[in-house]
């Protein structure tokens, strides 16, 4: 491959990366003791408002929050509809009325991953691109959905050979619409490299979930890690 071609491809990915960075948000992580693989947005909000301690599958969870920064702001905007000052005031309100404890506050994604990995029941959030070794990533189902869908059949996406060779990777984020019977009805791209998105969407369309009471939506993240 000519140097100019490689440069063009790299530049194109840099632009794509910048575009998807605008959508760069957070992923929800939990300690391995948490048995569920997904959580609804409304359930997540209740957990971080300290209104519930148990998830629908019975797992007791303990939220851990970030003290400040872009990840915290993204999480609060996306899932809590509050800004950092408001949520902090809210927590203090619970503390001083005897109705709650201040959640554990940490300073970075790395601290959150390390804490969640070693703390039974811990649930937190980190940047979508941050490595999450030792913890599980929870999928977010549609707000208000009250039934966790389990993935029954998973087809792995094909990694484009050119990108593999160029050591170009990334994470593709998708919203998956699942029928009541469990088949994937639709896939919508939320963010990530568009060239990686194509095989990701192709694979996810072949996935099968457990049946549910109604159609539901899940957010799915698919990492492409160069070998």
């Amino acid at each position: 491959m000519k140097a100019s071609t490689r440069w063009l491809i790299t530049a194109a990915f840099a632009v794509c990366g910048a575009l998807s960075a605008r959508a760069a948000e957070v992923k929800i992580i939990a300690n391995q003791s948490v048995t569920t693989d997904s959580i609804s947005a409304s359930e997540l909000k209740s957990v971080f408002l300290l209104q519930r301690r148990a998830l629908q599958d019975g797992s007791i969870v303990v939220p851990v929050v970030q003290k400040s920064g872009a990840t915290q702001a993204s999480f609060l905007r996306e899932y809590m509809d509050r800004n950092p000052e408001e949520i902090r005031t809210y927590y203090y309100g619970l503390v001083f009325t005897g109705k709650g404890l201040m959640p554990k506050e940490l300073h970075s994604d790395a601290e959150v991953v390390a804490y969640v990995a070693r703390t039974k029941g811990a649930i937190g959030y980190v940047n979508i691109d941050f490595p999450t070794n030792g913890v599980k990533v929870l999928a977010i189902s549609q707000a208000g959905a009250s039934f966790a869908r389990q993935l029954v059949t998973r087809v792995e996406p094909e990694y484009p050979e050119t990108l593999q060779r160029l050591q170009i990777g990334g994470t593709v984020r998708l919203i998956v619409t699942i029928s009541a019977k469990g088949s994937v009805e639709g896939v919508q791209l939320l963010g990530g490299n568009p060239i990686l998105a194509e095989p990701a969407i192709k694979a996810v369309k072949q996935w099968v979930y457990s049946p549910g009471p109604s159609r539901s939506m899940l957010e799915v993240s698919i990492p492409f890690i160069p070998k």
């Binding site: 509809d81 800004n83 000052e85 009325t97 959905a145 009250s146």
Partner: protein, 409 residues
């Protein structure tokens, strides 16, 4: 006042040190330590307000709290808080146990709290002391009268509470049901008002029970709810009867025949805007002497809005409406002219407020607030205005400037 400021300064210094480490361990259990304090300054034209000599400017507005809390197990949390305040002639630096609770959460939909518990009533009853949590230096006084905080702030007993998600994405219901005993400080507003009538309480306490139901609606940011409280309160002490003043101070014991509070409220938060409104109705029937009962009917409501201009600055405004009507045996109360006429200034307080709140950092804030009040709501039950500070009689209008600063950690 000087003593209070010294205490506040010492607490600030202590808090600064604690700010580095707000928790410690006992028997391998983490104990969180948190505290707050505030200092206000009030200047009024017209009447003196909130038992302060505010016409000359008063800084007798200080409060503070210190809490310790620990999560003993997945479901059990324990904690307590000490609270102290000095507001004009109220509180007088007598610290009290604000709350002390053991809280066991069986399920999301069922928890139990026991001990001395902050009472859930309306949007802000339990958090009314937490000035840092509100845009306003003073919450709407018709609905949350700070001079009468003891009447509703906590009960010694228990709560059942929980959160129930509704099907079909209809939001969530949070409920609280409670029962317990209220015990007022003799340094609170009602005993202070009655001193002027030659009624001196040794104790003022009794049963409270009620509940709160609030619905987090599917409309993002909208919560609506209702609260109810029933009480049976007994006051014991001595008094000089208006019907037999020659007998001097004689012992008395009176128990309310009826005492109930209803509240309805709504709150809407969208991005930087918050709007809330509440309606409160109190009714109580108190025997004065055999054959003579006083019935007091209070209707209060407010609508408030606030907007966050930036990370540290919020502005807000509210209108608070308070009307009291007094009867005896269903008829107008003879000693009070027009006792059922809301238009009389002694039967109402209409308060228009503008406010600015600046967070200096994560821990400290300053607020500046203007109140423009019509009426003084002084009849058989107080609402901020007392004859002891206004011996020459009341004026119809009062304007107030309130500056408040504080911190929490």
């Amino acid at each position: 006042m000087r003593r209070g400021i010294v205490r506040l300064a010492l607490l600030c210094l202590w808090a600064g040190r604690l700010g580095q480490a707000q928790e410690f361990k006992i028997c391998d259990r983490t104990v969180q330590v948190h505290g707050f304090a505030s200092q206000g300054f009030v200047y009024t034209s017209g009447n003196n307000w909130l038992t302060m000599n505010s016409n000359a400017g008063s800084g007798a507005m200080t409060d503070m709290g210190l809490s310790l809390t620990s999560q003993l197990s997945d479901k059990l949390r324990v904690g307590g808080q000490v609270y102290d305040r000095n507001l004009g002639e109220l509180g007088q630096w007598h610290p009290s146990l604000d709350w002390a609770v053991a809280d066991y959460r069986f399920k999301n939909w069922l928890g139990v709290r026991g001990g001395k518990v902050k009472t859930t009533l309306g949007l802000y009853n339990d958090s009314q002391d937490l000035s840092f949590a509100h845009v306003f230096a003073l919450l709407p006084q018709g609905t949350y009268p700070t001079d009468l905080r003891d009447a509703t702030i906590a009960h010694t007993g228990g709560d059942l509470y929980g959160n129930i998600p509704l099907q079909h994405e209809a939001g969530e219901i949070a409920y609280t049901a409670y029962a317990g005993r209220r015990s007022d400080s003799i340094y609170s507003g009602y005993p202070y008002l009655l001193q002027d009538w030659q009624v001196f309480f040794r104790s003022f306490q009794g049963w409270q029970y009620g509940g709160d139901l609030r619905w987090t609606t599917p409309v993002n940011g909208l919560t609506i709810g209702a609260s109810r409280m029933n009480q049976s309160i007994t006051g014991k002490g001595t008094f000089v009867s208006l019907f037999d003043p020659g007998a001097g101070l004689v012992p008395f014991e009176r128990t309310t025949k009826a005492y109930r509070t209803n509240m309805f409220y709504g709150e809407y938060m969208v991005r930087r805007l918050r709007i809330d409104a509440e309606y409160r109705r109190d009714f109580f029937d108190i025997p004065y002497v055999p054959g003579v009962e006083l019935q007091t009917n209070i209707h209060a409501w407010y609508i408030a809005g606030s907007y966050r201009i930036g990370k540290r600055v919020q502005v807000g405004s509210y209108y608070s409406h308070y009307v009291t009507q007094n009867t005896s045996g269903g008829a107008a109360l003879a000693p009070i002219i027009g006792s059922t006429d809301p238009s009389q200034p002694w039967n109402h307080v209409y308060d228009k407020v503008i406010s600015g709140h600046v967070d200096l950092n994560r821990f400290c804030y300053v607020k500046v607030e203007g109140h423009f009040m019509n009426g003084y709501g002084w009849a058989t039950y107080p609402n901020g205005f007392y004859l002891q500070q206004n011996p020459q009689g009341f004026q119809t209008n009062t304007n107030a400037l309130v500056v408040k600063t504080g911190f929490h950690f």
